[in-house]
């Protein structure tokens, strides 16, 4: 069941759209903001509001790399693995993160604190190597900065 708040926010998104389905991504993001991810059940609830079939909405949801259809940790790390960061030492940043978190791309730490994902160029190539944690951008990364960032996450 979607919460009252979620439904209200989705209705608000609908009011800006020409057709209901156009609010699909916004609605999925609203659910994800509240719950961290989009479960099958939430997806069905959203589809109903949008007059779409769940599979139709899921074909949209699964297209986007930042709509999570599986649970993620409290903090999502998006590590840039594109060309400028690769040239500037992305691989050693990835090694450092693997060592410190004990996980590889696509995994979540056992304590549920971090999920680690690769992401294309964050548009911060002048600060390479770069990563985003939640909504904040960091770079150029070195081991000291990585420690500081990880420690600041509850």
């Amino acid at each position: 069941m979607l919460s009252h708040e979620e439904i209200e926010e989705i209705q608000d998104a609908l009011s800006h759209c020409e057709k209901k389905r156009a609010a699909g991504l916004d609605a999925l993001k609203i659910v994800q903001r509240h719950r961290g991810w989009v479960s099958d059940e939430s997806l069905k609830d959203v589809a109903e509001i949008l007059d779409m079939s769940p599979s139709e909405l899921d074909s949209v949801a699964t297209f986007y790399s930042l709509i999570f259809r599986r649970p993620v940790g409290r903090h999502v790390i998006l590590l840039c693995d594109s060309v400028s960061c690769w040239v500037m030492g992305y691989e050693s940043v990835y090694d450092t993160l693997k060592r410190k978190l004990g996980i590889v791309f696509g995994e979540t730490t056992k304590d549920g604190r971090f999920t680690l994902l690769p992401h294309p160029c964050l548009g911060a190539c002048d600060r390479a190597p770069a990563m985003m944690v939640d909504n904040e951008l960091y770079g150029p990364l070195d081991e000291g900065l990585i420690d500081q960032i990880l420690n600041s996450c509850e």
Binding site: A22, S84, P120, C121, G123, C125, A128
Partner: protein
């Protein structure tokens, strides 16, 4: 040297509010356009100014607007979508423009929408641009409050609604027809063309998609004229360009310079030259889908025609400087892997061919390559080619590979002979 696009920017403080922007001469061009110019007049002016689209393809902006049906019998409503997806690896120029001076973009949008008589505009922005989104949201709210967006702008009868659409990853959404599908709430595969969006676009109605940097140029052209705009450039096309440099340079960043500035000036002067102890080996001139150039090309001018004549593309104009200690095979593997992951899966050559190229390159890079693999790579380049796919993503992925095989085939052969990466 005039720098119209970045004149209001100062990295040490927040971008101009609406009032500050107006005090600096902002929204004068909008006033001029809406109250004393005809849409056709603005379109002709922009065409004469020689502005070519800054999203990468370099199509004449004025000519593109000319494909939109106009007049009382034109289909309604019409739309303007601003492409702020900027997920092309190595590109960060639109972020600089949106964070640095959001009202410049909004003014460009109002004038562009007026020119094609669109009453709804969208800024399609990638999710990771959180700071740009925050700043744009604030600026859009200020603009509505001032009455420059909404109904009956400046009492002219012209209405414009502007929405910020935040995406959720996936590079293909920046392809203009995929972008339109995304806005309609569909799975964002590209569309088969024709019909072309200026005639049949969003919700089947005429739609223009312009890049952020393209739109930011419009107020300056309207205010200062076509001749002035052409005088900013060192080549036949008009304007300045937001160039960028990253990779092994001393001072990576974005620089507004005359269109046609040479690669040498950008790298050696503006980006502070190569880092100590490194030597330039290759240049990726304008994003992941542009072919590599070499130090022999340092005197090539960075504009659409000159870079094309040198065998590559200017693309987004944000270069990566690659040094001699970096493995070219590894570099190309990184680039093609990006495209393979981001392929939308619609066309066979792109969906099946790119992962195969990744496998071949990965084998070569890790010492498992065979001599015949090079022939297979060349075959794939012919197979994943323009005309065989619905969009340029697949073929674009082959440009860096093709150029790498052209200039650095020896590096591939060494991997195969030595059965390892000689650069690690």
């Amino acid at each position: 040297m005039e720098k119209p696009l970045t004149q209001n920017m100062n990295p040490n403080r927040k971008p101009f509010s609406l009032d500050e922007y107006e005090q600096a001469g902002g929204y004068e061009a909008m006033r001029l356009a809406l109250t004393s110019m005809e849409p056709a007049e603005i379109r002709t002016l922009v065409e004469k100014a020689g502005l070519r689209g800054r999203g990468g393809a370099g199509f004449s902006t004025g000519r593109k607007w000319g494909f939109v049906p106009m007049g009382p019998d034109a289909p309604k409503p019409k739309y303007l979508t601003i492409n702020a997806d900027e997920m092309e690896p190595a590109t960060f120029k639109d972020r600089v423009l949106m964070e640095g001076d959001p009202h410049q973009l909004i003014e460009g949008i109002i004038i562009t929408a007026f020119t094609i008589q669109a009453e709804t505009a969208y800024i399609f922005i990638r999710q990771c641009y959180t700071e740009a989104s925050r700043r744009l949201t604030k600026a859009i709210n200020e603009t509505y409050a001032k009455g420059y967006l909404g109904k009956n702008i400046l009492e002219t009868g012209f209405n414009l609604e502007l929405h910020l659409h935040e995406s959720a990853g996936r590079y293909i959404c920046g392809e203009e027809t995929a972008l339109l599908n995304a806005l309609e709430g569909k799975r964002p595969n590209p569309r088969s063309k024709p019909p072309f969006p200026p005639v049949v676009g969003l919700w089947g109605k005429p739609t223009i998609t312009n890049n952020v940097e393209t739109a930011c140029n419009i107020p300056h052209i309207v205010k200062n004229g076509a001749e002035w705009y052409r005088s900013l450039s060192r080549v036949g096309d008009g304007g300045t360009k937001i160039y960028g440099a990253s990779g092994k340079v001393n001072t990576p960043g974005a620089f507004e310079l005359p269109l046609g500035t040479t690669l040498r000036e950008i790298i050696e002067h503006h980006a502070g030259g190569m880092k100590p102890g490194t030597k330039l080996k290759a240049i990726l001139p304008g994003g992941a889908s542009t072919g590599l150039l070499t130090p022999d090309h340092l005197d090539v001018k960075m504009d659409f025609d000159s870079v094309q004549a040198a065998g590559s593309r200017m693309g987004t104009g944000t270069l990566v400087a690659i040094d001699e200690k970096t493995c070219i095979v590894g570099l190309v593997l990184n680039l093609v892997r990006f495209f393979a992951r981001e392929s939308c899966g619609w066309c066979t050559p792109c969906r099946e061919g790119l992962p195969w190229v990744v496998k071949l390159l990965s084998a070569i890079e890790h010492g498992d390559g065979r001599p015949e693999d090079l022939e297979q790579l060349k075959h794939q380049i012919r197979f994943i080619a323009p005309g065989r796919t619905f969009c340029p993503l697949g073929p674009g992925a082959m440009d860096p590979l093709k150029s790498a095989l052209h200039y650095f085939e020896e590096d591939f052969k060494r991997h195969i002979q030595e059965k390892k990466c000689p650069w690690t």
